[in-house]
Symmetry: C2
């Protein structure tokens, strides 16, 4: 067993004091968690974790996720002390405008922060995704004598994380997948915001994780460095099961009046209490004091990190010589770039009045993308046969086959969303997740974080309207297109036919940030693009699929399954000598990024009569109708009946559009 | 042990055959689950469940929730066979427009359906809410010699339900609360849509429920009626723990080619397979055949139900005599009506430039409402001190005190949403649930179902904008007001000050369906309503708080914390001889319900220059700005900094509004 010294103990107190002072200076934040869990964090960061503070992007670093993101002062203290690019002055700017130390850890904002956390449970599920990514890349790239990928993923979690459903989902899946290199440290402090966890959380956490197939270890004293060390080593040693280490801690450890109380959780301790607490630690009163010997000791992480990297680079160099093709692929996937000409094999679909469902077209397109892009990986929340998201010829990602690209998430949409975030954050993968559009609601917190972190993840949301039919209103998305469009940074694309679907996939792979593809259950005509404008303009978000001349009488604006209806309506209107332009507008976000001139060329301000047509809530469409136009939509829940009956009943027919147009034009 | 006969077995097969035929006729649906779980459903419905088919609203009936809602054909078969108001012709209209037998069970649509299910996991969490409601009402009303409330709540769940995080959350809480009268039957068929549950779901389910503090019982053979009977009786007998009965079944039982396979799950068996299956059951081929003896046997439920009701009415009559006041209260809460003058004690807040946070005002108002309305009950997802949602002088709802009204949900927003749905559905209670607005995302599937079922539940969503401050973008709602406004049937109210908050609570208690109150973290001035228009008009959704004459130069439209800014801006504009009307628009939904005349009186079409001001995404606001107006909003994520800094940086100051107004007017 490793011997820990007084200096080690001093280092632990340094973390506590720094976190405490950081929160106090900001007059805002969460001191109790860092104080309680400083010991386990120290053991991990200073001794057991392989990381390189000078190069936070070193691909084979161990990942550390602070799932209890409110304890950000802990993470910032560790980063500063270990020698990451985060200065003491940054800590003094905690929670201030423009600082590198926001209230919760934010990916891309602070070197060494692996994911954005705060919404509880997310980090833990991200960690499952990272551990899956590690296993996949290891299976894909490692060779018997040359290892490129072999790292642990650690997550520090609190009671709040363990209560959230998403962590149950993710933990159960991690057990099934036997993610032995995933290690979860549970800050078992018995306190949440409302008080004792006995109020609402009396389950046997250890037994629960056993039920999920995890190794479980209990550390009775959260300040016992040697015991924590032994527990983490035991966790590392079990390569068959993820490990759950329950560490009994005291929130606000060392604070004479707040230790073990909810009052230590979410507000500064106050000057008086800090004074008393520092007395308990035998610590100088001076704020932000870091003893020289403590800093020197912590900063050994720099040399250790360099040595780790050096060893890895040596291995890499050997790998490069032996496997040049694999090395090229490795470099590309780690850089996050796509192969040249990856999109040259995307299928083209001949015009066909009967057509196909865009989910089916998507399934065909996926095969081509997956063949060209070997790090595209994904799956569905138990709806693969319906969402058409299995990659053919690939096995299921499982303990027996970590190199396979079909992910089986089970009926766990939320975990799916958070896991693919973790995979994208890990690097090296382009993940997708699929379910029915209506169930996007279940994974909304994860979608929001993908957007906030600007991660390249792709959502395949099918069964996108009342066109779902008989399953009824619980399964029919009505407000969901709007609900996704309002998330800043998310690109939503609802293609009108098979060829627009191919163009949508192309956009999904190339535009920055997360993209949601919105696809039909039902067949749609494959539009004759020799008659109408090419589907290629999906990348511009919207285009005049049927121009109707330069001065049409009105503009019909539609998305997805409603575009064909609009084209039919335009044909019928022409018989009444009314010229209609039909604009296919698959993506508001992409369209809004176009130049004013382009937008004006598609939607000329002079043409006031406009009808938007989309089988969902109309909210938001008034930006395109202007004051004179109208929106055909559905502002109520759907119903259970065959799809064609529903479209008729809810007014989505070419005839209904024609009538609305004639009425709008006052003819 | 009860002896089951051949007739019982025939009854089980009758359920199977009926469900199979129902799906086949619709050419759509899920036959496998009803066929596999018919035996347990039979034992429960025909022998152990206390229900009255002629009076599905009998208050003390046992509740039955089909959490695996896709098995609706099972429920419809049971309802028809037991004598509920659901005819064979209704089953023949399964999944057709306007029928009483939609694809998934829909509350309020079909007699005997206790809740709308289909989105997996929801029903199970609803059942937890029902069981909590039962315990609360029992504690509140039962007297030693007179019991009004004493029933079980049963839920039939599948693998999908158990995978969803919301069921983990709800089950853990049910264990903590020792809900001994909650009984969960698990249809353990090892199959989900993608195939074997081994793909993604290998956890030890029984052990997991043990960890949650449940009694667990395993039935090895899902067709063994006596074993199922014994298991349910054992579950009933344990009043200290909820019970989890894992019943090993075969999906599509009896189908020679589909039993035990995913192909039995979600599509009709087909005529040939039905023929073979009926041979296996020794069943006539004729569709919808119900043998006379089977029907007679099932319909004993009518007499048994009448007898149950009779006994209960006798008890009620005794109760009525002994406890007239309690009886009056009982009748009122069961009818769902409010006490006369319940709103007379709502606080009024004097004008105050410093003011108070609307969450704090809400906390004060809640005390008055709770004092007047004894069946108002609720709590928070571990944020009660922040959301100000504890009822003072009330204890915590717990096994030791089921009569208390403060619910402690733990960090489980999703379960909270589903549980309060269950409480409302049970009847007798008006439940509320509270968390930060940003975490409404976690409970969105439950909010949608509340709206779909038109249940009276109240959401208290606080920390409603960047005004949340230092916690940063993960905690700052940006798109959330819009995300709630788009849910059909949900009323969203964002009051501007303490007095509008009182009016908002009043509306929340009285308008039909669910209501979301959107409240600030930060202090807002309490508006001087002797100078400005009365806050009472919140019930109309919007009103001119400052008229600015009949022909103002422009209209400023704001909600919540931005109303005071708009009033300040109007004052400043007046100094520049610009008259501005200020419209407080706390609720779009309520405003849109007003007459055309009223709306025109508030927002005269003639006044084109308009500015909407709301610290959230602008999508949707164009309906009020028209083509000439503009929207001040936030179409990006927030940041971590003190609130006042953020409002400044994001342009929410009176000065910024004045500048925008001057520019808009071209002055």
């Amino acid at each position: 067993m490793v011997q820990y010294t007084e200096l080690d103990q001093k280092c632990v107190n340094a973390i506590r004091a720094l976190a405490m002072d950081t929160v106090e200076k900001a007059k805002s934040g969460h001191p109790g968690m860092p104080m309680g869990s400083a010991a386990m964090a120290y053991v991990l960061w200073a001794r057991l974790m392989r990381h390189s503070p000078q190069n936070p992007d070193w691909p084979d670093r161990d990942r550390f996720v602070l799932s209890a993101g409110h304890g950000s002062a802990l993470l910032y203290s560790l980063l500063h002390l270990s020698g990451y690019e985060l200065k003491l002055d940054d800590l003094k700017q905690f929670r201030q405008w423009g600082s590198k130390t926001p209230g919760h850890p934010e990916y891309g904002h602070t070197p060494g922060v692996e994911t954005t956390t705060g919404p509880l449970g997310q980090g833990l599920a991200n960690a499952v995704g990272m551990a899956m990514a590690e296993r996949f890349l290891a299976a894909k790239f490692n060779k018997p004598e040359h290892e490129l990928v072999n790292h642990y993923t650690y997550a520090l979690v609190g009671d709040g994380c363990l209560m959230e459903g998403v962590t149950h989902e993710a933990a159960s899946l991690a057990g099934t997948l036997k993610l032995g290199k995933l290690i979860r440290l549970y800050d078992d402090n018995h306190i949440s915001i409302e008080g004792s966890t006995d109020l609402a959380f009396t389950e046997d956490r250890v037994k629960r994780f056993e039920a999920y197939g995890w190794q479980t270890i209990v550390v009775e004293d959260g300040n016992d460095l040697a015991a924590i060390d032994a527990a983490i080593c035991a966790a590392q040693a079990d390569q068959e099961r993820p490990s759950f280490i329950a560490v009994r801690t005291e929130i606000g450890y060392g604070s004479p009046n707040k230790q073990g109380k909810a009052s230590a959780h979410g507000e500064p301790l106050g000057a008086d209490e800090i004074k008393l607490t520092k007395q308990f630690y035998a610590w100088p009163e001076e704020p932000f004091h870091i003893p020289e010997d403590v800093l020197t000791h912590f900063r050994q992480a720099l040399a250790k990190g360099k040595e780790c990297e050096k060893q890895w680079l040596e291995a890499f160099s050997g790998y490069e010589k032996a496997y040049p093709a694999e090395t090229e692929l490795w470099s590309r996937v780690i850089a996050g770039t796509l192969p040249v000409d990856w999109d040259q094999t995307l299928p083209e679909f001949p015009a066909d009045p009967k057509g196909t469902a865009t989910r089916s077209a998507s399934g065909d397109i996926l095969q081509a993308v997956a063949a060209a892009v070997p790090n595209l990986i994904g799956g569905s929340a138990d709806l693969a046969p319906s969402t058409k998201t299995l990659i053919k010829g690939e096995g299921d990602f499982s303990a027996a086959n970590y190199g396979a690209r079909n992910l089986r998430f089970g009926v766990r949409e939320h975990a799916m969303g958070s896991i693919i975030n973790g995979m994208a954050l890990h690097g090296g993968l382009i993940p997708y997740g699929a379910t029915f559009l209506v169930f996007a609601d279940y994974m909304r917190p994860a979608i929001r974080l993908a957007a906030l972190m600007r991660q390249k993840v792709i959502y395949v949301f099918t069964h996108d309207s009342i066109g779902l039919g008989e399953d009824g209103p619980t399964h029919q998305p009505i407000e969901h297109l709007a609900s996704l469009r309002i998330i800043p940074g998310l690109t939503v694309i609802r293609p009108a036919d098979a060829n627009e679907t191919a163009a949508a996939w192309k956009a999904a792979m190339t535009v920055p940030g997360p993209v949601a593809l919105i696809l039909t259950r039902q067949n749609l005509p494959t539009i004759d693009h020799s008659r109408y404008h090419s589907a290629g303009d999906v990348s511009r978000g919207g285009y005049a699929i049927e121009r109707g001349g330069d001065q049409p009488d009105l503009i019909l604006i539609a998305t997805g399954s409603e575009v064909s209806l609009a084209l039919d309506a335009a044909d019928q209107l022409l018989k009444q000598k009314i010229t209609a332009r039909v604009v296919s507008l698959p993506s508001w976000e992409l369209f809004e990024q176009q130049s004013v001139e382009y937008k004006e060329s598609i939607l000329p301000a002079a043409v006031k009569p406009r009808i938007t047509i989309e089988a969902g809530v109309t909210m938001g469409w008034s930006r395109y109708t202007g004051e004179c136009g109208i929106s055909l939509g559905i502002n109520q829940f759907g119903a259970s009946a065959p799809a064609e009956v529903l479209f008729e009943k809810f007014g989505f027919t070419a005839k209904a559009i024609v009538e609305a147009a004639v009425k709008l034009l006052g003819k």
